[in-house]
């Protein structure tokens, strides 16, 4: 099977890989790079568990071919904490019990990050709308909304700006 060269940056590290045309970005992240924090849940773009940031934008990595990510900067959940310090969103999810089984959590946190980067002061409904490509079957969402809301005033505050 023909292999193609792929260069991309994941969590600040540059990679050069060989992939098949049919492989997705999710395959690259999970299988080639072993970054299994990016989850897989539905194989149809429905669940949001595979969400990562590509050049800062939230995308579903199961809906993107690896080769489409050529030259892009990818951020996965493993790249969010800096020097052992959790990102304020990660802290907020832990503190607010916004995590139960945790399977939706990486996708939820990264989608929330994209939201806060765009709009540092979203309303509860803004958060609900923005997160409505991500299923959570455990929490009923309220504690996730609470967690994201709690991060707002802290932007640039206690946890420093991200």
């Amino acid at each position: 099977m023909k292999k193609y060269k792929l260069c991309l940056t994941v969590n600040g590290i540059d990679y050069m890989l060989e992939v098949n045309a049919g492989e997705t970005l999710q395959d690259v992240i999970r299988d080639h790079l072993n970054l299994t924090g990016t989850k897989t849940g539905c194989d149809s773009g429905a669940c949001g568990a595979c969400t990562v940031l590509m050049d800062g934008m939230a995308i579903k990595s199961c809906l993107v071919l690896a080769l489409q990510a050529e030259g892009r900067k990818i951020l996965t959940i493993e790249g969010l904490a800096q020097d052992g310090a959790l990102h304020p969103l990660q802290e907020a999810f832990v503190e607010n019990w916004a995590i139960q089984c945790g399977y939706c959590t990486p996708g939820m946190i990264l989608t929330s990050k994209a939201l806060l980067d765009e709009n540092p002061n979203p309303s509860g409904d803004d958060i609900r709308m923005y997160l409505s490509g991500n299923f959570c079957r455990c929490t009923g969402y309220q504690k996730i909304i609470d967690a994201v809301s709690s991060v707002r005033p802290l932007q640039g505050g206690r946890h420093g700006k991200k």
Partner: protein, 764 residues
């Protein structure tokens, strides 16, 4: 016992950080060198004789390592209640999606391609999809020779397409009908609900050179998986090690074997590790889901609103194999009277084979279906008697000292207080009625599961504590709650306790994570183990301190003499002393089987389960608005009250309730695995509609604490009732808003609109 400062406090989850950072390892994340990937071939027919299977072409595909069909696998039938399930369908396929062959190949795509290349000759048989039809004369038999199947549970009633039946009766129903002023009859039907956990089933198995099987699986019940594997593989249980991965949601759908046996058989055959991960479509056509159910209810009441008698018949569409069906039917039977005093009753609940996938446990099994029917029916009776739905319920509520339908003396009945509390927070008595808006009410009494839990608490050399258990935390937060309980018992900060959920080799036995049982049973086991450890510590300390052991207490990680507090020794010193000079490694252990009052078997027939050690209670008020032109229902407000017995962690309790309510909301409004004959038409998460964040209504929660005598600190489970409530509460609110009673779920805009139109036509 020490000050109550740990129980009831909002501790952060012990597993929070690893889940927030992405390093928690779930089923699909397991990977091994040289691992093969497996795929099964599914039957394309709901009921067909398998005439011939030809794997030759598929085997030639490069990368294919082995293909197993029915003739290559152990000729055993397994099953949780009825031993009716072959490893692979051999003589016939009983549902569309049933595995006939499994392939292991070097790559997933190759395994997929190979499965497509297997050629099978079928002879279609007449299928039956409807449980009512399956009971009829001349219905095709789904299991010929079912009489010969062994049963894992005693006393099952089985015949024809019935794989289980529970009958409960009490009083004298005939007399009841005579005494009734009014009689109401309804028929309800409920859809198949998909568990909808986001993590797909994923299993990896390998055999070592000693012939020992190791298997990694995302499961709620490692020991149950081990037992089934032992039976299928013909291995003693001590040759099987089941390692539970982190579980990305279970809700009852990961309590049984799904593909563990396929991986194990392929691994034995190939000598390589084998992994199988299901696609969503396979999950929705092969693994279990919530039973669809048809429920007939007939109730006689006095004019003043006192319930006199009830007759109930429940038909659980169980699919091609029994699974937990007979037990689910029993739970439905036990729930159908609700928390109401009913002097005379006759309940008949059947688990019926049809040509669909095997439905099994899902959060609130049996109760969710029965709850919708019972509480919709109650609402109708209240309306037609011109009684306020709340007053009608209060008039009939059971209370402490009453006897349940199955003969137990009821205690710690929490429903009264919960109902008062929900009436208060929803302002029920002053509720405002406006056009096309309405209010609905719903109560729930359900059961939790007892059975065996055991725990091990180890004091390490440095005095720190380690709790080792075999109960999986599949998200509900049990590991955190159990750490709190141990911390409370040992008077130690909760974050200094480490909890290890072990595997079947390393952990003491637990029955599994389901039925609201872990906090309850394992909570008790942890308390017992802590007390066992304290006995050991006190006896060691008694010698060192020269104080009688009865005089000692454990406070702030110090053991001291109550009468003479300067006689004290720290846990660290005690541990050191114990490890090196005296007694060895202190280890508290326990095993508990929750006490329960047995069924009054003169009233109960065919129920395969032991009776519950405790009931659970909750109630809910919902306000909706209905768009009469489109049938669209908007849930404006939910007020929900839940009795926790004793809340161990308020955040965890709330999280369980909020999540359960949303799952119940999905069941009420959108969720249905749609069948066209035997084919699922929406086997994906786009067309199967679970709620998103924007679908979340305003939810207000209250928790009451009616202490349960058997529970740890009085706690009982809170996980199941939230799912039972929304369907009936919403259906009742729709009736209040626009005057139509809908007896079929889900309450889609389409169903609501056509009900409105039918109602309008009837009025004319």
């Amino acid at each position: 016992m020490a000050k109550n400062e740990i129980i009831g406090r909002p501790f952060a989850r012990v597993d929070g950080r690893r889940k927030a950072c992405g390093d928690a390892v779930y089923g699909p994340d397991i990977k091994m060198p040289g691992m093969l990937h497996a795929k099964f071939l599914a039957s394309p027919y709901p009921h067909a004789r398998i005439v011939h299977v030809d794997t030759e072409k598929a085997e030639k595909l490069s990368g294919v390592k082995t293909i197993l069909t029915a003739k290559d696998v152990p000729q055993v039938c397994w099953g949780l209640m009825v031993k009716d399930t072959p490893v692979l369908a051999g003589d016939k396929a009983r549902f569309m999606g049933e595995p006939l062959a499994v392939v292991a190949a070097t790559k997933r795509e190759i395994a997929e391609e190979a499965a497509e290349l297997i050629q099978v000759e079928y002879e279609e048989l007449k299928p039956v999809f409807d449980p009512e039809e399956a009971l009829g004369p001349g219905a095709p038999l789904i299991h010929e020779g079912a009489e010969a199947y062994a049963c894992a549970m005693p006393g099952l009633i089985r015949y024809g397409n019935v794989c289980g039946q529970t009958k409960i009766s009490g009083g004298d129903p005939e007399q009841g009908w005579r005494e009734s002023d009014l009689i109401f009859e309804d028929r309800f039907s409920t859809p198949v609900q998909h568990h909808g956990f986001i993590e797909p089933h994923a299993v990896t198995a390998r055999f070592d050179s000693n012939g020992r099987l190791e298997i990694w699986t995302s499961t709620q019940a490692i020991f149950a998986i081990r037992m089934a594997l032992g039976e299928i593989m013909g291995l003693p249980l001590n040759r099987i090690r089941v390692i539970g991965t982190e579980v990305g949601g279970g809700f009852g759908g990961k309590t049984d074997i799904t593909v563990e046996h396929f991986c194990a058989l392929l691994a034995r055959m190939t000598g390589k590790p084998v992994k199988m991960q299901l696609t969503r479509s396979e999950m929705m056509t092969y693994t279990s889901a919530r039973h669809g159910c048809v429920i007939h209810l007939k109730t006689g009441v006095k004019k003043d609103g006192k319930i006199v008698t009830r007759e109930a018949r429940l038909l659980f569409d169980t699919g091609g194999y029994a699974g937990h069906g007979p037990g689910v039917a029993a739970l439905g039977a036990n729930t159908i009277l609700g928390p109401y005093r009913t002097p005379h009753f006759k309940i008949d609940s059947l688990s019926v084979y049809t040509n669909k996938m095997n439905f099994s446990f899902m959060r609130g099994p049996g109760g969710v279906q029965a709850g919708f029917a019972c509480e919709s029916h109650m609402d109708r009776i209240a309306r037609e008697l011109n009684l306020d739905p709340l007053d009608f319920r209060i008039k009939n509520l059971i209370s402490d000292g009453d006897t349940s339908a199955t003969g137990q003396r009821m205690e710690a009945v929490g429903i009264q207080e919960a109902l008062n509390s929900v009436a208060k927070i929803s302002n029920w008595k002053q509720r405002k009625k406006s056009k096309n808006r309405g209010w609905g009410l719903c109560c729930c009494q359900y059961e939790l599961v007892g059975m065996t839990s055991s725990a091990l608490v180890k004091l390490s050399e440095d005095g720190s504590l380690h709790l080792v258990i075999g109960a999986i935390d599949h998200g509900q937060g049990s590991s955190t709650v159990l750490a709190q309980i141990l911390a409370q018992e040992m008077d130690i900060p909760a974050d200094q306790i480490a909890v290890t959920v072990g595997d079947t080799d390393t952990a003491p036995y637990d029955t599994g994570t389901f039925g609201d049982r872990v906090t309850f049973n394992m909570g008790n086991a942890v308390i017992e183990a802590a007390r066992d450890l304290k006995v050991q510590l006190f006896s060691g300390a008694a010698a060192m301190l020269e104080s009688p052991a009865e005089n000692l207490e454990l406070v702030g990680q110090m053991i001291r003499d109550r009468d003479n507090p300067e006689k004290a020794i720290s846990l660290l010193e005690l541990a050191m002393g114990s490890y090196f000079f005296q007694g060895g490694a202190p280890m508290g252990k326990s095993t508990v089987l929750a006490p329960f009052q047995a069924y009054a078997y003169e009233k109960v027939e065919g129920n395969p389960y032991p009776a519950t050690p405790a009931h659970t209670y909750a109630c809910q008020v919902v306000e909706v608005s209905v768009d009469r032109d489109t049938g669209m229902v908007r849930v404006e407000n939910i007020y929900s009250c839940h009795d926790a017995g004793r809340m161990i962690n308020p955040l965890g309790t709330e999280g369980q309730i909020q999540g359960g309510i949303m799952m119940g909301l999905g069941y009420a409004l959108w969720e249905e695995v749609v069948f066209d004959g035997g084919r699922v038409t929406n086997p994906n998460l786009i067309d199967y509609k679970m709620p998103f964040a924007i679908n979340q209504p305003k939810i207000r929660i209250a928790v009451t604490e009616t202490k349960t005598p058997n529970g740890p600190y009085g706690a009982r489970g809170v996980g199941n009732p939230p799912v039972l409530l929304p369907a009936a509460a919403i259906a009742n609110a729709i009736h209040d808003a626009v005057g139509v009673r809908i007896r079929e779920l889900p309450l889609t805009p389409e169903r609501v609109l056509f009900s409105l139109k039918r109602e309008a036509a009837n009025k004319k």
